[in-house]
Amino acid sequence: MNSAPRSDDSQAIKESDSSMGYLGADYTIKSWLLTTDHKRIGLLYMISITVFFLLGGAAASLLRLELMTPRGDVFGSPDDYNRSFTIHGVFMVFFFLIPGVPAVLGNFLVPLMIGARDLAFPRLNLMSWYIYMIGGLFTLYALVAGGVDTGWTFYTPYSTMFSNTQVIAAALGIFIVGFSSILTALNFIVTIHTMRAPGMTWLRLPLFIWANYATSLIIVLGTPVLAITIILVAVERLFKVGIFDPAYGGDPLLFQHLFWFYSHPAVYIMILPSFGVISEIVTAFARKKIFGYTFMAGALLAIAVLGFLVWGHHMFVSSQSMYAGMIFSVLSFLVAVPSGIKVFNWTATLYKGSVSFKTPMLYALGFIGLFTIGGLTGLVLSTMATDVHVHDTYFVVAHFHYIMVGGMVMAYLGGLHFWWPKITGRMYSEFWGALSALTVFIGFNLTFFPQFLLGYIGMPRRYYEYPEEYQVLNVMSTAGASVLAVGYMMPLLYLLISLKVGKIAGPNPWAASGLEWETASPPPTHNFLDTKIVTSGPYDYELQEYADSHRAVQEQGIV
């Protein structure tokens, strides 16, 4: 990897024009819609998940506006509020958080990082995007044709027998989009097994690859259970077959077991790829090998396995057996251990590094802080006695937003800023980048920290109206949400502007290690002009003395 072109290489700069590479290969609409290039498919995903993120975000903004006052005012009726939080949850979880990092950054980077020309099944990859869009459109249809008011959790028997909304259409959308996840995951697993460059052994894989590998395993094993559960919901709803509704001889708890058997691992589907992103960013901006590489890779796999064994901690007050509750509680504490290893090792990686604070690093540091708070507040929920009190209150809402939004979204934005020069060949404004990272961090904490307090004093979630004593904290939360919204809008603008006016990035603007930085930015259609041969492990950063002497060179490409 020592042959990485430097950003002062004039030849490389010339090749890194965005009219070159995969972006300039063909400009027709058809060439995008029928592409089998993993990089272009990654961009298709990027555009679609951004649209769904904006839809889900718009719903969230309305919810926060409604909750500024105790009485209902923004929405005409509780039903509209209930539909909106369902839209927010369904779009964010199934159409943004789950596909986010793997389908956008993973699609773009997995082949590049292992030195492959494409994913193992390029056409299947395109198909998975189409399936994603069909699922998305079905769900959008459900939203236009009356909405859905069950929440993203679709608890029975409410969803099967009592809701008068478009449950089937929305569930069908989620059913379909599941296949898109499965196909992408399958593609990743096969690619990582069979298409690594010569010398790229398993223990030389970047942690981003390990993270996507572990995620893919969860997706392949867990998503079918969700599909089956959705079919059972549809069968009960359409044909009145007693599965979940006790009035027909079913068991409502069965649904919760099946649902959380998928949906708890799904939390790790959302967060594991983020761990990979953060490991790449922290090493690049500390200019140091990751501390405890094997433990970091092992922790990813341990989380993937343990994540399947803790679903019952969503059901401590559901009337599940107390012995089952105990097992799920102790396992939930154990799953915290590998998550702790990650945070410890990121911190230790900074030790004796050479740390610089570019936008991706600011997002990554924000991630570490927010993920730590999100993870530790999870202890309150895995402890049975405290969970009884805070279950289904705003404490839970705050906790999982710290993990999902504070974790996954921060990591996604950090990764987007880190690899933006690779994806587009252009640099964005560092000033605006740093400002957005700071705004998102502050806005996020303002929005969600008050919700921890709100939850402990007793405000239940999914409430359209609430008692007056909860108003102060709700107003704070809504104020924070407006700051957060500004923070999220900023990258949308300056990243787009960078496409026109951004400085040419060159192949490796961060002087980062990794095969993806050894090719032009944007990369040519087949990624590499020659076969890469890997001779050392990942994160092979130079010793500090070299780094210092090359500092001037490194920073030339970055403004």
Partner: protein, 353 residues
């Protein structure tokens, strides 16, 4: 409006224990968060690019450090688990002398029925200083009964009984919420729990009772639904008598369809009585034929609760069918809390335990 509470009111025996555990968890979390924040920021600044900090002897990994990362959080986690589990056991183990109140949830209201006959909607009156056990069911979807000031919560499911208990320590009015999303009016499905001095509670019960008590109504229903035709004393059909059944062991056939399959022993509780009415073929008492038809769909939840209360009143150790007699004097009958309470109500706290 500008008050800034961090804790809800502390109005039950659970509250101080759960709060102590919560504070412990928050302190540990805060310690870790600040430690991480300190080290991340300290390293990031000390080893910022271009600083002259000492960077010799860089190590890529340290098995000792990893072992500490793994051991310390694991031990700490198990410690917290045990602390939480001990309190949790208390949260789900009602004392034997609890007052029992039946609660039915339906879209979008809570109905409470006291054994003495009082019933109330979106309100619950309980005496201070006595354990209260709620036996709950839902008529439609899943609801959840939540009283933040008591730190008590339990999901309420259709088709089965769930129970929760608490021991109020403070007189006052406390908010009651539904915390399991249940449709349009979910956020309005709540009310108040009123904790009263025991004497005031007795007076309230006296004043609000419209009937002779749940068990007495259950006895009437027992005849109305023709249960007594088979289970009564003079019946010609061979059905098990129900006196003394509740609370005691019942031998059930291992395979309800096969009289020779041998038997297992269960304890007759509310669930057993309910299921025996709605799904009699599932659990057949050893030595009897599976003859009883199912009453599923024919008896509303509120009537079921009354029937259960009646079966309970003639249960183990209870004094026959005298419960409808509210004039029972102290010591007569059994140690049933219902019995005690009935006696207490009429004698104005005479049998208070």
């Amino acid at each position: 409006m500008w008050e800034f509470p961090l804790f809800p009111d502390s109005a039950s025996t659970f509250a101080p224990k759960v709060d102590a555990l919560y504070i412990g968890l928050v302190l540990i979390s805060a310690a870790f968060t600040f430690a991480f924040a300190f080290f991340v920021l300290f390293f990031a600044v000390k080893y910022r690019r271009g600083s002259n900090a000492d960077r010799s002897n860089i190590r890529d990994s340290s098995p000792l450090a990893e072992a500490i990362y793994i051991t310390v959080p694991t031990l700490m986690g198990i410690g917290l688990f045990i602390w939480g589990a001990i309190i949790y056991f208390e949260l789900i183990s009602p004392p034997a002398d609890s007052i029992e109140i039946y609660v039915t949830g339906k879209q979008w209201m809570w109905k409470a029925q006291h054994p003495e006959g009082s019933s109330e909607i979106n309100e619950l009156h309980v005496p201070a200083g006595k354990p209260v056990r709620l036996i709950m069911t839902s008529e439609d979807v899943i609801h959840s009964y939540f009283i933040p000031d008591f730190r008590a919560k339990q999901d309420v499911l259709p088709g089965r009984y769930t129970t929760m208990w608490f021991h109020p320590t403070k007189v006052g009015r406390f908010r009651l919420f539904c915390t399991e999303y249940c449709g349009t009016e979910h956020s309005r499905m709540g009310g108040w729990v009123t904790v009263m001095e025991p004497s005031a509670y007795e007076a309230w019960l006296e004043g609000s009772s419209e009937t002779n008590g749940l068990a007495a109504e259950g006895e009437a229903l027992f005849r109305q639904y023709h249960c007594s035709g088979c289970h009564g004393a003079n019946s010609t059909v061979k059905a098990p008598p129900l006196e003394g059944v509740f609370g005691g062991p019942v031998p059930l056939l291992n395979d309800p369809k096969d009289p020779q399959s041998g038997s297992k022993i269960i304890v007759a509780d509310e669930r057993y009585v309910r299921d025996s009415i709605l799904r009699p073929m599932d659990e057949v008492v050893s030595g009897y034929e599976p003859l009883m038809p199912s009453f599923a769909g024919q008896i509303p939840e509120e009537d079921l609760l009354k029937l259960v209360a009646y079966i309970k009143s003639i249960g183990r150790g209870r004094a026959g069918r005298t419960l409808s007699d509210r004039g029972m004097s102290e010591g007569e009958g059994a140690s049933s809390n219902i019995t005690d309470f009935m006696g207490g109500a009429s004698a104005n706290g005479g049998t208070d335990q």
